[in-house]
């Protein structure tokens, strides 16, 4: 906020051209005072954002120096400029602005994207550090400083024991903003990160209580503090922390419930998330409970249900908006920390005090961490190594919360407020700049285990799930109550009661981790497929028989096609655990990525076709008319669709001609293709019925096909491609109209006279549907009753293979020799 409002207002208030004309009409007036406040705010936000751009121009700098440090330095420079201009500290970080507007987005972002399982798995550790650790830090720092003061080293100050304790309590707390800012560039392993970060969030209750208690004690005067007050202080800790959590949970419940009914107001869905969370923050603040805890738990608890209930676009909007708000807030905070420091009026220097504070907080934190870790390691499954402890102690950064708290002190009651403020600034700068700079090299030098972002693999998820069950069972058998048992009970409770109330019915069915991974994998295959198509300029690409089977899809966005390309829009990471504020799709390239890509493209051959939810979750790539309320297509779209079809048809024609030349000899291949295409088409049922009853039909159709197949060349396409075209085409179709007739598939129309009523209007791989329609491969076994299943031998898996399951004694002997082309990427 700006202290020089009047000053600036005085300068520019004269309207142009008003001189000499009293009472005349001004054509143009310069009304600075009128716009001043919002203008200045907007300007500062702009400056901060521009600064970020500036920093990232040099990759070398940002990889060494954390952004927060750069911003502080920038703030110092700007503060210096403003100071030189006005000799007044015009802009400072006021506690009101900080606590009401800048802090909530950051904490909400942290809570909403908190990896719950990790968090609750380490909750004991986190709580211990947050509560006991903070109290320890506060007590030891305060008492030590008092001791030094008593020894006279600090000179003559008007401080008492309570002042020291007050100072200790506000300087002791690890700051979430600083931790996030620094750690996100360091990428330590997730357990370490969650411990430090969780601690920084949960210690708010302790900080609030200690701060308030000591502040009121100081106001009362040291002699009037009674034992009752102390007891009240302890009680207030429990009230503040549990109350704050409860407020957060209640609002999370409300939020989840509300999002259950927002089906028809999709556009404002994201708004609910922000408003209700913000309300939880304010409510808790109003009741003098811990606001940070409230908004954190609101985010943590509502995650699952909100993500299940809102549409994909809303989820994306929420994600981006939250990240944007949090990132901007963080930028502004650090910049203003720098600016606020340039204020000679508050500067009071006391060498002993400052230096000793720095020493004490570092030393006592290290001691505290070691002691607590020793205690924890006796109960933890995953032990915390000494290296981890080093990172934990070094990562105890102080930040803007401490600064805001110290500025909030009452200068009359706390005589040495300026000294405190100066010291706090120095401490914050030291931790953020120095520790921020050195933590990366330290982590590398100590060879701390880093985090690995990997693509989720189906097998891992499956086995992970199996593990959970096995471990719960073992815990049950051995008669223990362990984490798995508790988690089991909770998920049971959640499934039975909570989800029924809070989740949309359609979401309840489809919301399963394994299905999600499945869905993600399919989506990724689809994305890479389309990306490949774009790269080659058309969707009509096919790998030539001789060449590489290595995937060559480049996932890095290309500057020219990025904004316009469909694949870029598609390339959204639906469910990654993203602990970084700055990046939304942070993914480190690892060797596994290449393997996974191969895997996914293998999968792609057998893309499963989950049924599409009734019109809701189709991404609309066409432009829709500008409308604030509705997202319905209009007449223009039909035209677009027509043009689209025609273009696709043309492309396919040109492609077909090249293709036909290559594969004259593979007749059987085409036969196969036909069947596959056939089955693929048949497999997506428009009206929501599983093909349980029609497997026999499918088979008879196929058999007929075999008999009828003539030597005439069916188009030599691959149904993935056709599927792709179907997908794109169907996507542009107005999905609100539920016609089963499907679209005009340009690929099939010239050749097939088959039953087009079953033509898929659903994209081959779209999900999250309610059911997963089985692949053709799976369905070949349906006619055979499960009891008589033999072990399926030929599990063909290759870039050239087709339908891989041939029964050992199946009646349909298909010549395995000549296998068709495939777009195996």
């Amino acid at each position: 906020s700006c202290h020089s409002c009047e000053l600036k207002g005085g300068i520019g208030a004269k309207p142009l051209g008003s001189r000499g004309r009293d009472g005349g009409f001004q054509v143009v007036t310069f009304k600075w005072a009128h716009v001043q406040d919002p203008y200045v705010i907007a300007l500062w936000i702009l400056v901060a954002s521009l600064a970020k751009i500036g920093f990232h121009l040099s990759h070398k700098v940002t990889s060494v120096v954390p952004e927060s440090a750069l911003l502080i330095v920038l703030g110092l420079v700007l503060g210096g400029i403003v100071w030189a201009a006005d000799h007044i500290a015009s802009f400072t970080l006021t506690p009101t602005v900080f606590f009401f507007y800048l802090l909530p987005p950051i904490v909400l972002d942290a809570g909403y994207f908190m990896p719950n399982r990790l968090f609750f798995g380490n909750l004991g550790t986190i709580l211990l550090y947050a509560v006991v650790g903070t109290v320890w830090n506060a007590a030891t720092t305060g008492l030590s400083l008092y001791g030094v003061f008593l020894s006279g080293l600090m000179g003559d100050l008007q401080i008492g024991l309570l002042d020291f304790l007050l100072f200790g309590s506000l300087i002791a707390a690890v700051d979430p903003v600083a931790v996030l800012a620094v750690f996100e560039e360091v990428h330590v392993n997730e357990v370490l990160f969650i411990i430090v970060f969780g601690e920084s969030l949960l210690n708010d209750a302790v900080t609030v209580v200690l701060y308030n208690v000591f502040e009121s004690f100081v106001a009362l005067g040291g002699d009037n503090v009674t034992g009752v007050d102390c007891v009240k202080g302890i009680v207030s800790f429990f009230v503040v922390s549990l109350g704050g959590t409860l407020v957060g949970v209640v609002f999370a419940f409300l939020l989840s419930l509300v999002t259950r009914f927002t089906k028809h107001v999709r556009i404002i869905e994201p708004g609910f998330v922000f408003i209700i969370s913000y309300l939880s923050y304010l409510t808790s603040e109003m009741l003098s409970l811990s606001a940070i805890l409230a908004i954190t738990f609101c985010g943590i608890c509502c995650q699952k249900y909100v993500k299940a209930n809102i549409s994909e676009q809303s989820a994306t909007t929420v994600r981006y908006t939250m990240k944007m708000l949090a990132s901007s807030a963080e930028t502004i905070i650090f910049m203003f920390l720098g600016i606020s420091a340039v204020n000679p009026f508050i500067w009071t220097w006391n060498t002993a005090f400052v230096l000793l504070t720095l020493v004490f907080i570092s030393v006592y934190r290290a001691i505290g961490v070691v002691l607590q870790t020793w205690l924890l390691n006796r109960y933890r499954m995953v032990q915390l190594e000494p290296i981890d402890q080093v990172v934990l102690s070094y990562g105890g950064l102080r930040g803007a919360v401490a600064f805001a708290l110290v500025v909030l002190l009452d200068g009359d009651k706390v005589k040495e407020k300026n000294l405190f403020v100066s010291t706090t600034i120095i401490v914050v700068f030291f931790t953020v700049i120095f520790q921020g700079l050195t933590i990366k090299p330290l982590v590398q030098w100590l060879k701390v285990k880093r985090s690995e972002h990997r693509e989720p693999r189906l097998n891992e998820k499956l086995h992970g799930r199996a593990f959970d069950h096995i471990l719960s069972a073992i815990e049950d058998i051995s008669g223990q109550i362990g984490h798995n048992y508790l988690r089991d009970k909770w998920s049971h409770f959640d499934r039975k009661f909570l989800s029924r109330v809070l989740m949309r019915r359609s979401a309840q069915k489809s919301r399963d981790r394994i299905l999600n991974v499945f869905h993600e994998l399919n989506l990724k295959d689809a994305i890479s497929y389309v990306a490949e198509g774009e790269r080659r300029g058309s969707l009509a690409f096919i790998r030539s028989p001789s060449t590489d089977n290595v995937v060559n899809v480049d996932f890095t966005p290309r500057s020219s096609t990025v904004e316009a390309s469909v694949s870029y829009l598609l390339r959204e990471n639906v469910s990654a655990v993203c602990l970084d504020m700055q990046s939304l799709e942070q993914r480190r390239r690892s060797i596994r990525d290449a393997e996974d890509m191969v895997t996914h493209h293998t999968l792609q051959q057998y893309l499963y076709k989950p049924r599409q939810e009734e019109g809701e979750n189709v991404r609309r790539w066409y432009k829709h008319l500008y409308s604030r309320h509705e997202l319905t297509p209009t007449e223009d779209e039909k035209q677009d669709r027509e043009i689209f079809h025609r273009t696709m048809r043309k492309r396919l024609e040109s492609f077909k001609s090249t293709k036909l030349g290559l594969n004259q000899n593979k007749k059987a291949a085409k036969m196969y293709k036909r069947e596959r295409a056939q089955k693929r088409r048949n497999s997506s049922i428009p009206n929501g019925k599983l093909p349980m009853e029609s497997p026999a039909q499918n088979f008879t159709i196929k058999e007929k096909d075999l008999e009828l197949s003539d030597t005439e060349e069916p188009p030599n396409y691959d149904e993935e491609m056709s599927g792709g075209i179907e997908f794109l085409a169907s996507v542009t179709k107005d999905t609100a109209s539920d016609s089963p007739a499907g679209i005009d598939n340009p690929v099939f129309s010239p050749d097939e006279a088959l039953d087009r009523s079953l033509l898929a209007r659903l994209p081959p791989w779209l999900s999250p549907g309610e059911m997963v329609v089985p692949s053709q491969r799976a369905r070949t076994q349906i006619p055979y009753s499960p009891g008589t299943f033999r072990r399926l031998m030929p599990f063909r898996l290759s870039s050239k293979s087709v339908d891989s399951f041939l029964q050992a004694d199946g009646p349909e002997e298909r010549p395995p020799a000549a296998l068709p082309e495939s777009t195996h990427m």
Partner: protein, 187 residues
């Protein structure tokens, strides 16, 4: 404790075999007695398709539990590796119900179906497809690119190990045996 006269001898033997301490063995024995109703064996286990034993005695019980012991931090690299392999072998046997050394698609499907059976909304078909997909993923991990004529029989133990390479099973597959209050959990 146990009814045998050479109880302490037995305990020592079991200690050596499974690596539990005598306290833990005692506690587990108490639990065993609870589960088995004071019989020497636990009966009426569900019969597997290939006719698993329908009763286990205490030694078997202990052996199974020993797979879930936390990895001793004092062990060296080789022992850790060995222990890891043992745990994975245990898992492998859980999946491989006919114990032929390969996890075939059918067995895999059974596993997935059972895993997802807790969720009433997922159909059997979906479970099937997921199992198929997972199998393919496993195949591509283990075999890489295959020729059209190649056939992938099933997941062998080596392949299984490959799949699990990146995941540290040591930290996941164990249960804390610290506080074993056998709260009479009557399930």
């Amino acid at each position: 404790m146990g009814a045998a006269h050479s109880a302490s001898e037995e305990v020592r033997e079991l200690e050596g075999k499974t690596g539990f301490s005598s306290d833990q063995i005692e506690q587990l024995h108490r639990r065993f007695k609870q589960l088995s109703g004071d019989q020497p064996t636990i009966r009426n286990l569900r019969k597997g398709p290939s006719g698993l034993a329908d009763e286990i005695n205490f030694e078997d019980f202990l052996t199974i539990m020993s797979y879930f012991r936390p990895i001793d931090t004092t062990m060296d690299e080789e022992q850790v590796e060995l222990s890891r392999k043992e745990k994975l072998r245990f898992l492998f046997h859980m999946y491989d119900s006919d114990s032929d050394g390969r996890i075939t698609l059918e067995e895999y499907r059974n596993v997935v179906e059972e895993l997802l059976s807790g969720n009433p909304h997922i159909e059997k078909e979906s479970a099937r497809s997921i199992a198929d997909g997972a199998m393919m993923e496993a195949a591509s991990v283990c075999m890489g690119q295959m020729e059209p004529d190649q056939v992938y029989e099933g997941i062998t133990f080596e392949d299984f190990l490959k799949i699990w390479q990146g995941i540290d099973i040591e930290t996941k597959m164990h249960v804390r045996f610290l506080n074993m209050e056998t709260m009479a959990l009557c399930h």
